[in-house]
């Protein structure tokens, strides 16, 4: 094993030095595609260039990303779906902090979702904060009483991808290509997609956590 270490050291040093040289030789402030995006920003329906790229110009990529999240939940569920209960009492600090933080987290989710159209934010950030709220709930001793096969759960989970795909397919009936929103409604359609995506992402990430947590507990 030590001989491989002596081989790794010069190899990694070479890679590191090569990367540093490449980064140091990059031009100062390359514009990239910023100018192109800025020129077409009014057509996208939002004023934040990141949201415009994610949900309008490259909406197909975001659609596939949400499908990947759905596949991840299906993968975790395929291992162990039953929720095993845990009788531990949460500590005083955890319980008090959860009571304080949960309404705040939900408010922050709504704010991030709304502000995504004109500032940093958006569906993924809001969904991640919502999932943090869900994880806090689970950690503070909340027992999920719902059945994992419940239809409502599945509607919310698949709602993100479904709404996105529906909004993408609808222009096909008008003779326009897939995912080409009509320019007048582009802002509202993006908000619709982002709302469904926030709920779906929040629920997906929380279910991923519940799945891994309950898989390790002994049935009581």
């Amino acid at each position: 094993m030590t001989s491989i270490r002596w081989l790794l050291l010069p190899l990694l040093t070479t890679v590191g030095v090569g990367l540093s040289l490449v980064i140091l030789s990059l031009p100062e402030n390359p514009p990239g595609l910023q100018n192109t995006v800025a020129q077409h920003l009014e057509l996208s329906g939002v004023t934040n260039p990141v949201t415009a790229v994610l949900l309008n110009f490259r909406a197909y990529d975001t659609l596939l990303e949400m499908t990947v999240l759905l596949l991840a939940v299906i993968g975790v569920w395929s291992l162990d779906v039953s929720v095993k209960s845990d009788d531990r009492e949460p500590g005083l600090v955890l319980e008090g902090l959860t009571r304080l933080l949960l309404p705040l987290l939900i408010l922050v989710t709504a704010y991030l979702l709304w502000t995504g159209s004109h500032g940093p934010g958006g569906a993924f950030q809001a969904g991640a904060v919502l999932s943090a709220a869900g994880i806090l709930l689970v950690l503070s001793g909340w027992q999920p009483t719902f059945d994992f096969h419940q239809t409502r759960l599945k509607w919310i989970l698949t709602g993100g991808v479904s709404v996105f795909a529906a909004v993408g397919v609808a222009p096909l009936f008008d003779g326009r290509p897939f995912l080409q929103y009509p320019n007048e409604y582009a802002g509202e359609l993006i908000l619709l997609i982002e709302s469904a995506a926030t709920l779906a992402i929040g629920l997906t990430l929380t279910l991923l956590f519940i799945g891994t947590v309950s898989a390790g507990r002994k049935p009581s």
Binding site: L112, Q125, A128, V129, S131, A132, T212
Partner: protein
């Protein structure tokens, strides 16, 4: 203005070095729990780096997902590994006692 530029260099350099150091420590710690904590700290520093690179959306996502969700998932994975290890050791102990018991 020179002081501001020097301060910026110092901050960026410190952030970069801290990232490298945290990454190395997270990978080289023998205890898994410590490694997960270092990974969460790494995520938080990376979120600061994203802000310095003028990418606030990525910074928000990194802070929420890297420090929040992935940290929690890794913690529950470490807890599960320790439970599995304990079960393994209990099973081996039972086997040992069965071997030496009747003898």
């Amino acid at each position: 203005m020179e002081a501001v530029a020097a301060l910026e260099w110092a901050t960026d350099g410190l952030l970069g070095l801290t990232l490298l150091w945290l990454g190395w420590r997270a990978v080289s710690t023998p205890e898994l729990f410590r490694a997960v904590i270092l990974f969460v700290a790494f995520s938080l520093f990376l979120a600061l780096v994203w802000v310095r690179l003028a990418a606030p959306d990525v910074a928000l996502a990194e802070a929420a997902i890297g420090a929040g969700l992935t940290g929690a998932l890794l913690m529950s994975a470490v807890a599960r590994l320790e439970t599995l290890d304990k079960e393994q050791m209990d099973k081996e102990q039972i086997k040992q006692e069965e071997k030496t018991g009747p003898g």
